[in-house]
Amino acid sequence: MKPLPPTIRTKKRYILAGIEPPGTGADQKDLYHAIADAVTSLFGDIRAAAISPAVISSGPDHVIIRCTRGGEQDLRIALSTVTAAGDRKIVLRPRATSGTLHALRKRLPQEVPARPEEPAEVHFGGRVYIARRYQGQKVDLMEKGIKRQELLFLTQNDLEEL
């Protein structure tokens, strides 16, 4: 099949967004549903159809989202209202917008936040948590268990004071 000439193709924009907390392992399908629901909830079906959000790729701490040109501002607003993907609490922080995936991927290495260090066990408030330390002073505590694990966001200083 002959491809459409570039002049009559629908123009796209690509948004790189960071996922916090990093390493939550949000599923790409869950991310798509969270973003699509946020756009539809905020702007309605007609505008959501015009924006046409789609998740192109995702990693442990980033996601690349495609939309039609002119819809990137509304998509960025909708990304600010995403609070969960599946059953995981996350936040998406838009970092860059580009007209080509190639240009966006060039920005990817600088945009990826530091990987957490090896998880360690911490006892806090009579419960056992898995602590993930980040470069700097951030420490995320995830309660050890199978489901409904509590998440706590502390700093190294908070842990030392316990």
Binding site: S80, T81, I90, V91, P94, L152, F153
Partner: protein, 213 residues
């Protein structure tokens, strides 16, 4: 210049420590955060401004709370109510911010209140928490009420503050994201910048220049 999130709620109300909130707020472009019932300190370059939240239903009770807890270097924030209550609260000395207006009824803050707020330098707080977390009818009502406040603001130019009311670091939003969210109810970028810098001016209002001998 102070770029401040006008109210956040760390542990024990939320799941994040105050220090972690300060670190994240600094990374998101803030240099100050307002936190209820804490002592003022600076952590990781972010100034923590203490606040007093007053949620009472009568003006007399608010006055009592102001006498007990007001004064000092705390930002005094009072939850809004009906129109008469709001007008009375705006006249009280020591009130810095009237908040939760998006959750009140339609006529609770009208042009008379707006003029009063402008004259007395009392800020009106815009709460972004329901814009981010609510959906459907609740969010629609908040957007409409915020839009009405912005229309009054463009006429009377009373001080505005913007708060995320974050209970977690995941609820915090950057200055850029806040600007985008505020555009949903017709707030211009310059007005958002001005609103984010209001808190510093509320605690240190401009006074006449005094010549010291």
């Amino acid at each position: 210049m102070t770029v401040a999130d006008a109210c956040i709620h760390p542990c024990p109300e939320g799941d994040s420590s105050l220090r972690r909130m300060a670190v994240e707020a600094g990374e998101l472009g803030f240099d100050s955060i307002v936190v209820p019932d804490v002592t003022p300190f600076i952590y990781s370059g972010v100034r923590v401004i203490p606040a007093v939240l007053i949620a009472e239903e009568s003006v007399r009770a608010v006055s009592g709370q102001l006498r007990k807890r007001g004064g000092g270097q705390s930002l005094v924030m009072v939850n809004a109510g009906e129109n008469g209550f709001n007008r009375a609260v705006l006249n009280l000395k020591g009130v810095h911010v009237l908040r939760n207006l998006c959750m009140t009824r339609k006529q609770s803050f009208n042009h008379v209140c707006a003029r009063q707020a402008a004259d007395r330098g009392v800020a009106i707080d815009l709460d972004l928490y329901p814009v981010i977390h609510a959906s459907g009818r609740t969010r629609q009502r908040v957007l409409v009420r915020s839009g009405e406040l912005i229309r009054l603001y463009s006429r009377y130019r009373f001080p505005l503050t913007i708060s995320s009311n974050a209970r977690s670091v995941l609820d915090l939003r950057s200055v850029e994201e806040i600007t985008l969210l505020c555009s949903l109810f017709g707030m211009e970028e310059d007005d958002v910048q001005a609103a984010l810098t209001t808190v510093g001016g509320l605690l240190n209002p401009p006074a006449p220049v005094r010549v010291m001998p």
